[in-house]
Amino acid sequence: MSDQRPRRPWEPPPPRPWGNEGPLQPWDQARAQVEQGFSRFRAGTRGLLLPLFTWPLFFDAIWEIGTGDVRGLVAAALGIGLTVGATATLRRGRKGDTQRAALMVGAASGVVAGLGAALNPLMAVLLGAGGWLGTRLLYDGAVQEVAPPAPPPPPGPLDEHRARLARIAAEPRLAGVSGALAGVLDDLSARPERITEARRFLVVHLDGLDRIRERLQAGAEPPEGLPKLLEDLTSAADEMRDRIRAEETAALDIQVKVLAERLRQEGYA
């Protein structure tokens, strides 16, 4: 049973029974601090031991460059690259990353043994398997792996318009018209099939208002015609809402007529 497993130094101590917590003794506090420090150290240095095993490859790579041995250089580069990749994978700490890192270290060991050290293929495979097993032994269960974060939801068709409208609404002189446009967006999100026909309207209005907001925030004095223009934009937005509603009403009217006709034809009415 997993409860019987001895507690590892970096794991927090189990909670004491309810009502029996009592104050922590100085010794317990010191021990908890040491354990937390060790846990942080181990998490922070996770995987960094692996590249240290490949230190001869750095000198080997320099030597191979000097002698012009491409095969040896490729082996050294693969050995270093795969090990560094395994370290990065281990440090990412997602589910299955320890297994992936172990496979990479196994591949690095095999390639370096077979290609760089020119051992026979059986020995290369054995050393590769040993590298895999060694990494599993060293890192399995050392930290809790987490599942990769869920991707963010795809943006909705009106999200960009809403973001622009939020910027416009931040300017107090445009509060009235931005309220009217927010009503249009609310209506459209309730009836997504109308978004296509309203897209041009939204782009023109939000573009214009965004530019006006930029100028106003840059310190421009509002011209005389601005209140009239904002009034026109507000009434256009109200008209758009009325039109959407009227189209919905017309669609419902047609549905009612069709259903009534069908009921009549079937003899139910």
Partner: protein
């Protein structure tokens, strides 16, 4: 109420997982020294 005749099977732990963690870590370091380090060293010597 019916009781199951036998408790549900507990998945057996791998042999290596039953080793205490310091032994596993030490074995891991030893094995990596024997494989990854040894292969690198032999590559250096062969080069």
């Amino acid at each position: 109420m019916d009781r199951p005749a036998s408790p549900p099977p507990v998945p057996s732990r791998p042999l290596l997982a039953s080793l205490p963690w310091p032994a596993r870590r030490a074995a891991g370091i030893g094995l990596l020294t024997l494989t990854l380090w040894l292969a690198s060293f032999l590559a250096l010597v062969a080069g």
